[in-house]
Amino acid sequence: MMARGSLEGLRVLDFTWVLAGPYCTRILADYGAEVIKVQSAVTDPSGESNLSGYFNTWNRNKRSVTLNLNRPRAQAVAKRLAALSDVVVENFSPRVMESWGLDYPVLTQANPSLVMMRMSGFGQTGPWRDYVAFGPTIQALAGLTYLTGFPGREPLGMGHSFSDHIAGLAAALAILSALEHRRGTGKGQYIDLSQLEAICPLLGPAFLDMAVNGRAQEPVGNSPMGQVAAPYGVYRCLGDDRWCAISVSSQEEWKAFCRAIGDPPWVKEPTFASPESRVKNALTLDKRVESWTKEHTPEEVMSILQEAGVPAGILQNAEDLIKKDPQLSYRGVYASLFHPQKGATFFDTTPMIFSETPAQLRRAAPLMGEDNEYVLGDILGMSGEEIAQGKRDGDFI
């Protein structure tokens, strides 16, 4: 018997697509909320398939209802569903919900305690409100791409849509807080979350350096930020494209590091005596460190250094994470669910272990419209004939 989910009893009407929005509602669904994904083959701007691995990863535990929101009857159904929901989430460009008559002033009339989350790239106001953005766009505009690189070289940025995950988390956090507020006051609210504004604060100290010292920070490669630490970086190890990260930030860690690698003569050189001199001579130091690491696998480097109390870790790739890492496996970070058409589907779960109400894996991602009967019939009380007629008319497709 599975423990009761923390958010059981909450209903979320989910108009989101791609990654940022679905990541938000995935978290709510994992902790027990009933998330109903509104989809339509007609109005879907992404053309994403419910059968793709990508879709399955972000949409497990959710239900799917098909509503062709270009049709007035589907819009009316969406309004009735919103009236019976606690939360509505959407990540379209502004004006899309308005064009369907599903904006906050309309929805809140029937349901004053509704929490509505709108999470577009730039927010619902301001000169860029109608601009288009994906993760890479937001990361570039927010300064993350510029600062992730090497000094004096072309900006590189992150290798994935990191900002979509942060935006999803920020939206989930705001929704949960609004629900707590509603519990205390009975009042719902509308939240205008700008993905750009969720990412900018992640470079906080760099903004303050600009504001206070007038200094424009530049990319630093793998050097430590704001701290004296060396050796600090990513070191080549034995094997093809194998690396280990090492960070030594105190004199004790330096001594432990020297002992762990067998106290080779070079560690006694005066240029490496103090943290300051090690930072000053970091290039030479890194070469010496690498002369040791490249004789070992990253697994060996990590285990030798960690045994000695020195922070070190493999630069793990997908295979390391999923197949080899004993810690992630111990925590059950990866799991699978049976999908009626795809068979076993695998995905990452949650980084949190709750002592009382752990995350739940109830079902694989839905097929498009898989839950039409439940949503239209059980929740809204429509008869089988009404549902079938709506489908024939092109409302529920």
């Binding site: 958010l7 106001t125 994935h160 504001a211 793998n222 922070p311 994470l321 980084p351 709750f354």
Partner: protein, 395 residues
């Protein structure tokens, strides 16, 4: 939104942002530091580059809107006081090494004895239990072990760690989400609970395509410079900086735009109508697009693209962003008063701005023990008692 929620923060870099997020949402966050102040006050950059516990801009940023108290957890009296503080809190956010609080008899099992409704969020590099639970980490090590650094950087050289504390930010976000999930559960009649957050795992579940590609196609995602994994986006140089462009969407419109500038080269050729050829000969497209972007200004090009619904963006620096007209129109940046400095300082604002028209600002980070009298006073201690505890080294 979290008015009335009381949060105790016993955290280093890993959990500072967790406390800040909860404070921005309106919770009363009480930051507990060791007497003399936490080591995070020694992290730069510093005001005028002078290292000083009250001049760390790092500390300033991560501790806005928090009240600050000091407490020596290594004294019996300090431990008793800590239990009292926990007794009146809804949430405790802590980042101590696993087992550290238990050794002082301040683990979750003990704390819940005096406060069954307590929600305790523990953020550690690898988690409370398991084969690596005693391993040490830094932002770099956690980012590497979580799989984020391997996919960043140039193809033929070493992996690159993303700028800033992005692994810790992910863990902090999860910690804050977990805290409020558990708070809702408790406030609807459930029990309190302990939430064990692993920084490594927080990174490993926020990798976009990485796990998906392995599970669906048995592919190991690699780094490829600024080229997005979908191969749909890349950074290009302009006359005055860099821009992030999409290359494969709305192909005809893109080529038309380049042709207007006389720079479409051979891309008007019919063969490029085939998306498969565009994908397989992407390096050629990149060369031609780059010749064109080198003649362009970043902001003008972004405007031209956005009008045509291209998801393009200037590669901004914090410097260029500070004057961004869109953020300015939304009032994103906020002025924070620093009386000691004689002027207000411009901070990045909250992702959760108040929507009731109230002004957006924040209280600056606390000085060491700044709120001792007030917070311990709320626990029922008199001014004399607090002063005595200070002289005994407990506070």
């Amino acid at each position: 939104m979290l008015k009335g929620v009381k949060v105790l923060e016993l955290a280093d870099e890993k959990g500072l942002y967790c406390g800040k997020l909860l404070a921005q949402l309106g919770a009363d966050v009480i930051k507990v530091e060791r007497p003399g102040g936490d080591h995070t006050r020694n992290i730069g950059p510093f005001l005028q580059d002078v290292p000083h516990p009250d001049k760390s801009l790092f500390f300033w940023f991560y501790n806005t809107d928090k009240r600050g108290i000091t407490l020596n957890l290594e004294t019996p009296q300090g431990q008793e006081l800590f239990k009292k503080l926990v007794g009146s809190a809804d949430v405790l956010v802590e980042t101590c090494p696993p087992g550290f609080l238990e050794e002082m008899s301040l683990g979750y099992e003990v704390l819940k004895g005096s406060n069954p409704g307590l929600i305790m969020v523990s953020i550690t590099p690898f988690g409370q239990k398991g084969p690596y639970h005693n391993y040490k980490a830094s932002e770099l090590v956690a980012s590497a072990m979580g799989g984020q650094a391997y996919i960043c950087g140039e193809k033929d050289t070493f992996p690159l760690n993303p700028f800033g504390l992005q692994a810790y930010h992910l863990a902090s976000y999860f910690g804050a989400v977990g805290a409020i999930v558990a708070l809702l559960h408790r406030n609807m009649g459930g029990a309190g609970q302990h939430i064990d957050v692993s920084v490594q795992a927080a990174v490993a579940v926020a990798l976009d395509h990485v796990n998906v590609k392995y599970f669906s196609e048995n592919l190991i995602a690699k780094r490829q410079g600024s080229l997005h994994w979908s191969r749909g986006f890349r950074v290009f140089p302009c006359k005055d900086g860099h821009i992030l462009l999409s290359m494969l969407y709305q192909w005809d419109i893109l080529v038309q735009m380049m042709a207007q500038d006389g720079m479409a080269a051979d891309l008007e050729d019919g063969k490029w109508q085939d998306p498969r050829i565009r994908m397989s000969e992407l390096p050629h497209i990149i060369r031609v697009v780059e010749e064109w972007t080198r003649t362009q200004q970043t902001e003008t090009l972004m405007e031209r693209g956005q009008v045509l619904r291209f998801p393009w963006g200037v590669v901004n620096s914090p410097e260029t962003l500070s004057d961004n007209p869109h953020l300015a129109a939304r009032g994103f940046f906020m002025e924070v008063e620093h009386p000691g400095l004689g002027r207000a300082v411009k901070y990045p604002g909250s992702p959760f701005p108040p929507n009731d028209g109230s002004s957006k600002t924040a209280r600056r980070a606390p000085h060491v023990g700044e709120d001792n009298q007030e917070v311990y006073g709320e626990l029922g201690l008199s001014q004399e008692e607090v002063s005595d505890l200070v002289s005994q080294g407990v506070i």
